[in-house]
């Protein structure tokens, strides 16, 4: 009985192992829409957080996340299994964020007084009344240049290796290493006004 119990404990783990990303993709491509739902559930929070940290606190997170997975839904049949699914997924997410930022910038040029499209980021250089450290850091990260911000987020939030980051951003490992260092240096400079609060 004890043996059976142990067997039951192992079984779900074994099943779960069979449901890796590649297997789910293959099942989806074979017509199993449920596999896609599993894929979404597995990665949706990573995608949402990546968008959240890239853009700052914005209402567009849900729309962009939906767009990301709709793109995945449409393109999954063309996935070539030559890289991690997450690498591919994060690349789509980064590109969607980039598109969104570009559109917002264009809209701000042609509608400078439109309150809906003004920056929602709070400047960390201007200490607020309440000191929410997490918010200060999040806004500080969002203030980094895109080429520094994306590798830092993928490393420190998503936990990707330098190799995976290089594949996601289509760049060299040495470049990733350099940009992550410069991102940390830049963030330190941005957060200098809050040095006392952050220590």
């Amino acid at each position: 009985m004890q043996e059976n119990k142990n067997k039951d404990d192992v079984q779900p783990q074994k099943i779960y192992a069979l449901q890796d990303d590649f297997s789910l993709i293959r099942r989806f491509n074979d017509g199993d829409d449920q596999a896609f739902n599993l894929l979404v559930n597995r990665h949706k929070e990573k995608v949402r957080n990546l968008i959240y940290l890239t853009l700052g606190n914005t209402d567009a997170i849900d729309d962009i996340s939906q767009d990301v997975f709709i793109s995945v839904y449409r393109k999954l049949k063309n996935f070539r299994f030559q890289s991690q699914f997450t690498t591919w997924l994060y690349r789509i997410t980064v590109n969607k964020c980039r598109d969104y930022l570009r559109k917002r910038k264009i809209r701000s040029i042609f509608s400078p007084f439109n309150a809906e499209i003004t920056e929602t980021k709070e400047s960390p250089n201007k200490p607020s009344e309440t000191f929410d450290i997490q918010e200060i850091v999040r806004n500080g990260v969002a203030q980094l240049p895109e080429k520094l911000r994306n590798p830092l987020i993928l490393r420190d939030f998503e936990g990707l290796s330098y190799q995976e980051i290089a594949e996601t951003l289509k760049t060299e490992i040495g470049t990733v290493k350099s940009r992550i260092f410069r991102a940390r240096e830049g963030l330190k400079k941005i957060l200098e006004p809050y040095e006392k609060e952050l220590l």
Partner: protein, 535 residues
Amino acid sequence: MSIDKEFEQLSAYLDDELTPTEREYIQQRIASSPELQRKLAELQQMKKLVTAVDPLPEDPYFSQRLAATIKERKSGGGRFLPFRKPVAAFAVVTILMMVFIKFSPIQWNSLFEEQKSNILDFYTQNLQPFFTASDLTSEDIFNFAFHKTLPVGDEANQVLSLTSGDIGKAFFEIRDKEDIDKDNEQNVDMERFITSLDLNQDQQRNLDSILRSYSDRISSTILVNNNSTLAVNPDLINIQAALRAEILLFAADANEKALEYMFKKNEQKLSLSENREVAEFVNNTKFNPSREYYCLTPDTSFTMELDIDIDSLHRDLQQLERDVITQKEKLVSLRTLPRKMNVKTNRSAFFDSVIANQMQVWVDNNSFKFEIPMPGRMPEVHYNCDSIRNEIDEAMTVFKSFEFNIRVDSNLSSQSFHFSYRDTAAGQSGMNMGIVIPDLGNTGINIDSIVQSETMGNIQFDMGTNDSTGGFYFKLGDSVIIALDSSELHIELEHFRKEMKTLRKEMELFRQKMMEDMQREQTDSNRQLRRRWEI
């Protein structure tokens, strides 16, 4: 390794991304370098702050919303491929239009023609003559023949002027009347024309009849409407030339002197009456009007054919004149009266826009001017309108120099012959001279005389024949101030001769010998006279 490179290695060391060799090296460096230790602490703090940021609260309904969206778009109810939809719609419309044009060119053309006709209808509706017979007096038409101008506006302070542009082009121009008068050095008006030709009452009525016969044709050449369309028939240029020709022929017929002057002086150039083509030109212009009109509108220009019922127009205009006479008592302006005109658009003859592009328009504060091609050839005949117009113009130029510049009057006193001449162009009008005729004795045709100027005091003039040039001369001292050239101013000499003949008749009793000399001189057909003015 530079310090910056070592800092970079520190960052990678924190992320456990160094090779074992690199890790060992950097650990040794950290142990020995306070600066690296400080930098490592900074980097660790940054990494700690970033990784400490909490993730977003989980969205439990994300998957359901996504599934619903995908399902909606798959069923076609949503915007699954948003960017492709307008492209597809445009492509479908384009293909449908191509198919329509390919397989139904007639319908397409008819649709195009219909729209074109709508535009034409809009701009050509209610076209009315800009001038009416009541607007144009006989004198206006006479001035049109001589000066190529027609009065415009109630105050008649502006004129429509026709001038020649580049070769084959004519300008229609609205200008101030004062400017036109300045340009016209030979300001011949109808009154002077009648006086100079000594026209009797019947002849004056004939002249008026000729002028009035052109009023309807002139009226039909310039049309306007409430849509600010201006339609001009370039045939107006031919009408003006035909009118000139008729007036010249009338002048030649009415006055023997004019006939001699115009048709004996230069047989080649002034043979209007013998030129059959000129007669055809006049008839064609009067009775076979061109239907081509150049239309200017606020936003386009085009050429088109308009059928105008001249008879109907004439009746309308006559009725209008009667109305005007009736309404004059009520002080109603002619321009406020309604005008109707039967204009029928010939839609099949919509000219190519290239032709319309030959029209050029200039507008500024003071003038409005546009250039259109002159009508080259008359329909159904094959002579060159340009050469005929030029011939008529040259005849008019010669005709203008007849008598209109030199006015000779004479009267007689007991022993002197007074005559006056005036040169209006030079502004020397009213210079009267009195010639005291002495006893000429046997001086032949030479009239050595003493001329006394009433306005310039007593000045002696010598008058006689010039043996070297074969003409008459007037001398003041040794200077020849007036010379008469028979080939150039034959008619003036003839006039002078007749005056002298009259003089002799009236002084017959005491100037018998002079009359004989003058008669002998008149019969001398071989004498060549030349006159030259050196004032």
